[in-house]
Amino acid sequence: MPWSLFDRIESELLRDPFAELFSGFPGGRSRRSGTPHSVIAPLNVRLGDDDVIVEVVRPGLRPEDFEIALEENKLRISGGDGGPEPSEDVRYHLRERPRARFERYVSLPYRVDADRVEATYELGVLRIRLPRAESDKPRTIPIRTGTPAIEGRAERVTERTDAPTASPEETSTED
């Protein structure tokens, strides 16, 4: 169900056009077949009660090759190419690593505190932690007894004054 929360606008599905030209190490057996990911930068999203963790798997870059932008509850992550082009004295036998830029979007299920967003790049994995905004956290409204009975679940009531931007998936498909 939560899968539909996340846009997958993938300009990155373009494969490296040169990859097919270079197959086989000298006298070797390596081929392109079986290469795991069709996407350049696979994405993981972990949803917690207090924060969201977004992982973008893209090895061989430097931290400064990534760009992270947050607008409302939309996160955009883009990244640079696969490093400097080699000099002319180089002969390629196999070239599978993607050079294209990538861009990924995540629609966050709740508002986040932009000032407390943290990002690290380790082992080729960009990891972004986005804490949920305090003002967005569900509040429990105490119900007084004695006076005319008030019924209902209060845990989803929030203080937001603007229209909720949440996607319909948040409120539907209850089993």
């Binding site: 169900m1 939560p2 899968w3 929360l5 996340f6 270079f22 190490f25 000298p26 006298g27 070797g28 057996r29 390596s30 079986g34 290469t35 795991p36 990911h37 996407v39 696979p42 994405l43 993981n44 999203v45 972990r46 949803l47 917690g48 963790i53 992982e55 798997v57 893209r58 090895p59 061989g60 870059l61 430097r62 080699p86 004295d89 180089v90 002969r91 390629y92 036998h93 196999l94 070239r95 599978e96 690593r97 993607p98 995540v106 299920p109 790049y121 082992l123 080729g124 994995v125 845990e155 989803r156 948040e170 409120t171 209850e174 089993d175």
Partner: protein, 131 residues
């Protein structure tokens, strides 16, 4: 709503923990200069202790265990395109490399192997006489 989410979270975790890690072939670049062959392998999420490189006869094998989202306990796996995998790939290396001088560097999820060529395999310039 809340309980539905929690139930599915537990199911997801159980499924992911019991399944053996998928074995996949990492992307590679292989290139050659006058002095050496180079192999660059994409091994995201592989830490140095989880990486083995073996050269047996003429077959070089790299294997690494990748853990992404390892410390995601208590989180719902809302979207997953890169789970824990075992990366494994073998290359047949040319005979003219110096086997004792192979170097490996792992940085930012990219393993770069340098396989220096032996001296007598380096190209020589042969003068051509013009008649």
């Amino acid at each position: 709503m809340e309980t539905t989410l929690n139930a599915s979270r537990r199911n997801d975790e159980r499924a992911a923990d019991s399944a053996p890690p998928r074995r996949v072939q990492p992307r590679a670049d292989v290139w050659e200069t006058e002095a050496a062959f180079f192999i660059a392998l994409e091994l995201p999420g592989v830490a140095q202790p989880d990486l083995t490189i073996e050269l047996e006869k003429e077959v070089l094998t790299v294997e690494g265990i990748s853990h992404t989202g390892r410390d995601a306990e208590g989180y719902e796996r809302a979207h997953e395109e890169h789970a824990s995998v075992v990366y494994r790939r073998s290359f047949k290396v040319p005979a003219e490399i110096r086997r004792d001088a192979i170097e490996a560097d792992l940085s930012n999820g990219l393993l770069t192997l340098t396989l220096p060529k032996s001296d007598d395999s380096k190209p020589r310039t042969i003068p051509v006489r013009v008649s």
